[in-house]
């Protein structure tokens, strides 16, 4: 559990840092995406397999732990009180299950592009690809997050991830035997900080897209943006009938 969690914690951070290149412009993110896909097949598929195993092991042990624990405490107290545990720690199974569904959706959405096959037609060129056509990740992301409900789903799921990590990261140190009374509060703060860094890091992208759509900011290339994100329906109030 802790080891697979540790792998995912590392991955999530790198993934977030990579995504933030959205703010460095189309060429940065498209080159990054191209270079990842241009890795030797065994490195690419090896890493994918490694992550898949981590997720499967994590979810499988989670399911087992939850089932065993329900069996160990079949009766609940008439009065249930908690002194230390909060929402995040008591709902790891719930947040984890939603995250599992999210991971599946996320892969179908951006990796295989099964949800919106029209993304496959978004192509561009980057200097690194030597003239070959590459997938335009920049436009795909702008186009996706220009859809309000989709952005909302991503922000909500990242909030659940933040809660999962707030308990998970501090719990991980304890499970690995690396926690001590003198560091406990520091590790807890570190876990909370990590959770929020991940949250804000990830949601900054959908948030910026929505804000630009509504004309509040201009962080993404305007020409590209207007090409894939339809302008927000102007919220003009119907004119009052004249008398």
């Amino acid at each position: 559990m802790a080891l697979s969690g540790f792998v995912l914690v590392g991955f999530v951070f790198v993934h977030m840092a990579g995504n933030l290149q959205m703010f460095a412009g189309a060429e940065a993110i498209n080159t990054y995406a191209y270079q990842l896909k241009a890795l030797p097949w065994f490195v690419l598929w090896g890493s994918r397999l490694f992550l898949l195993v981590a997720v499967v092991v994590h979810a499988w042990t989670a399911a087992k732990i939850c089932a065993e624990n329900r069996a160990s405490r079949p009766t609940t107290n008439d009065v249930e009180v908690t002194k230390k545990s909060g929402w995040a720690s008591l709902n790891m199974g719930l947040t984890g299950s939603i995250l599992f569904a999210f991971i599946v959706f996320h892969i179908l959405h951006f990796t295989t592009q099964t949800v919106f096959p029209e993304y496959k037609e978004l192509t561009t060129h980057v200097p690194a690809s030597d003239g070959a056509e590459v997938h335009d990740v920049y436009l795909m992301v702008l186009s996706s997050f220009g859809v309000e409900w989709l952005s909302a789903v991503y922000v909500l799921c990242m909030f659940l991830l933040c809660r999962h990590l707030t308990h998970g990261v501090s719990s991980m140190f304890q499970s690995l035997g690396l926690r001590q009374e003198s560091w406990r509060s520091k590790l807890d703060s570190l876990a909370t900080l990590y959770g929020w860094v991940i949250f804000f890091g990830f949601i900054s992208i959908p948030l910026a897209v929505i804000l630009q759509k509504h004309g509040a900011v201009e962080v993404f290339d305007k020409v590209a943006f207007d090409q894939v994100v339809p302008a927000a329906v102007s919220s003009s109030i119907p004119e009052a009938p004249t008398q």
Partner: protein, 250 residues
């Protein structure tokens, strides 16, 4: 004091059990929680009813026999205090107090508030000892022990085996108890020879008995009348990982 008691009654482990309400008058603020229950039982006997069964022995907070989940908290609302050392002045006059047994699958109810905590004995039998060389007693101070280690081992040894940690845990995990008992011996030179075996066997016995998995909520330590630290659970996890790796490699 005037109290209303909502007490769990259960006629053996097969009976589903239910709550019973009792009014109790004239309780002194200075009496202990168990003395208050004694008063209730006298009242029940006078009225020709069956008294409430509950566990107790030393009544001075050292034996670990008393139990009870009081208003949802094992050993009641006072930190670092066993039920026998809890006084009625910690409650309000006219209060309704809910009294339940320690709940866990591994601790079946024997009767009313008495539960069977013998699975703890199974864990101790699996490794909570040092195999001693018989013969003459060793010389005092023949084995030097660092003050730090001696203090930590004493902290762990303070566990009285009451089971409040299991009752406080939403997963009915026995990690705090097991880690205190294993940690106490693993910290001392006398415990080194059997350290790896002890950890593996005690954890196996704990799982076998049907206790749940620790999910690091920390409720156990907060409920513990002896303030056993979560550090011992971290140490048990560490010792367990080392022992498992050594076992695989050997």
């Amino acid at each position: 004091m005037k109290l209303q008691l909502k007490i769990w009654r259960q006629d053996g482990s097969e009976d589903p059990g239910q709550f019973e309400m009792h009014d109790l008058n004239g309780v002194s603020e200075d009496c202990s929680f168990l003395e208050m229950l004694d008063l209730l039982n006298e009242q029940l006997l006078e009225n020709g009813k069956e008294p409430v069964s509950f566990d107790h022995d030393c009544r001075e907070g050292i034996c670990g026999t008393c139990s009870l989940t009081i208003n949802g908290l094992p050993h009641g609302p006072e930190d670092s205090t066993t039920t026998c050392q809890l006084h009625m002045r910690k409650f309000r006059d006219g209060e309704t107090i809910t009294i339940e047994p320690f709940r866990a699958k591994a601790f079946p109810v024997v009767r009313d508030l008495v539960v069977d905590r013998s699975p703890f004995d199974k864990i101790i039998q699996a490794g909570g000892y040092v195999s001693v060389r018989t013969g003459s007693a060793p010389d005092g101070n023949a084995i030097p022990i660092a003050k730090q280690d001696a203090d930590l081992a004493m902290d762990a040894a303070a566990c009285i085996g009451c089971g409040a940690c299991v009752a406080a845990c939403k997963n009915a995990s026995a990690m705090l108890f097991t880690s205190a008992k294993a940690g106490h011996l693993n910290l001392l030179p006398q415990g080194q020879a059997e350290k790896d075996q002890r950890v593996l066997n005690m954890v196996a016995a704990m799982d076998e008995a049907g206790f749940g998995n620790c999910r690091n909520y920390g409720e156990c330590s907060a409920a513990c009348p002896k303030d056993i630290s979560l550090d011992f659970i971290a140490k048990l996890n560490r010792d367990y990982s080392v022992a498992s790796v050594k076992k695989i490699l050997s």
